[in-house]
Symmetry: D2
Subunit: 133 residues, 4 copies
């Protein structure tokens, strides 16, 4: 399972560009981190909302994929994310968890924490779709 | 007004990293584009959802900022985005438009088009907050 | 087309309970209104957010259904709604419009206006799914 | 605290119309239930999505209010809700929980369960605003 996700993750050019790292893969849960860099900032010098969103979207998509058949691919249908605290931290840790897994659609919850993994910075809910090949 | 937005845009490290360009600034509307590159892909070789999301979030935030007082800064409270078509295009064009401008909160609509600016790929609704300094 | 929607609308017990009325059905667009009553209020005496949400969800669902095959039924996958102005009006007018129609999923935009149909009170984006029978 | 919420709840005409009941009030968490009736259905005879949405929006709003000062009122800024299972049950149980409480904005998670309180039917994330009087 880890290999399947890792192979796909390594094909995501954006994850490399952001310096994101695949930390953990379990059935229905995936964790991705991203080290701070000035290349990832918004105008006040903290992580841009787009960075948190990108890694937690990937984490949710891969969490969904762990529960899909081998010949399936996953696409984001939509997501909503709340930014609760400014992302002033040296590392973002994003966790995607499957809330409801269906044949076509999967609903995931995404969490973005600071480097201590204690302060919840952002919260996502995402709908993913399974595409069979 | 363009200068205020441009100065802030140039401080966003992520926009530089994505190769994003500030195309247009009007009262209540901002346009940002992003050229395709293999550094910005998801696993199937198209633009990652996070790229579209990052530039349209910036476009919405700056659209909101054009209607805020000079001593205000803007932060994303939350947004929701639907991905309607795969982002198979050589350039993304993101447009943020203010739908409702209040003293504290501003609601924006964000649109991500392909390079022809005819095919709507993604649609965002964002809530922005004004922080006074 | 009107008959198909009208028949389904009349089976919605909630629409009767809210006093909602099916005003208009076109390909990809449906309009529903709801007269003010003290039975529909929140604690400050205006329309409860749930009333606006219920009728605009129905309007979006039926707008999606107008573009689906005859043997299809529609279900709400998810929606997001922003409440921009307090619903101080004697009538709510909800309009659902299809933004993107696919084989499985349909994305709709929903608008809730005051009785003059000039003041936009709320804005929804909804994802609908087609279920074939 | 219960009295403050109960008094406000009893002024919501819609809650009476839906037959909703305030079950429980704790700091940061509120529970509301709603008995099935044919007055609350969608076209297939189950609970209309609008009913689940209305009660869980109220539960989230009141959960937020339990953490606000005495002279504050609460309004829904926006919410997003996913409908994961058809609401085939004789009673809906909605729980609103505060995820992040700020001076102006409060982010809540809302859960709608079936009558056994075991099957999660819908999941909401809501942004609430505090209005001082």
């Amino acid at each position: 399972m880890y290999d399947r996700i890792k192979k796909s993750f390594d094909r995501q050019g954006l994850m490399k560009t952001l310096g994101a790292e695949l930390l953990n893969v379990e059935k229905g849960q995936v964790k991705i981190s991203c080290q701070f860099s000035e290349k990832l900032t918004q105008q006040h010098g903290f992580f841009h909302a787009g960075v948190a969103t990108s890694i937690v979207d990937s984490a949710c998509g891969y969490a969904a994929l762990t529960l899909m058949p081998e010949n399936a691919e996953v696409l984001s249908v939509e997501f909503k994310i709340n930014f609760m605290k400014p992302a002033k931290t040296d590392k973002l840790i994003a966790i995607g968890k499957v809330l409801q897994s269906g044949k076509t659609l999967t609903v995931c919850e995404g969490y973005v924490y600071d480097s201590s993994e204690e302060k919840l910075l952002s919260k996502m809910t995402a709908t993913m779709i399974s595409i069979l090949y």
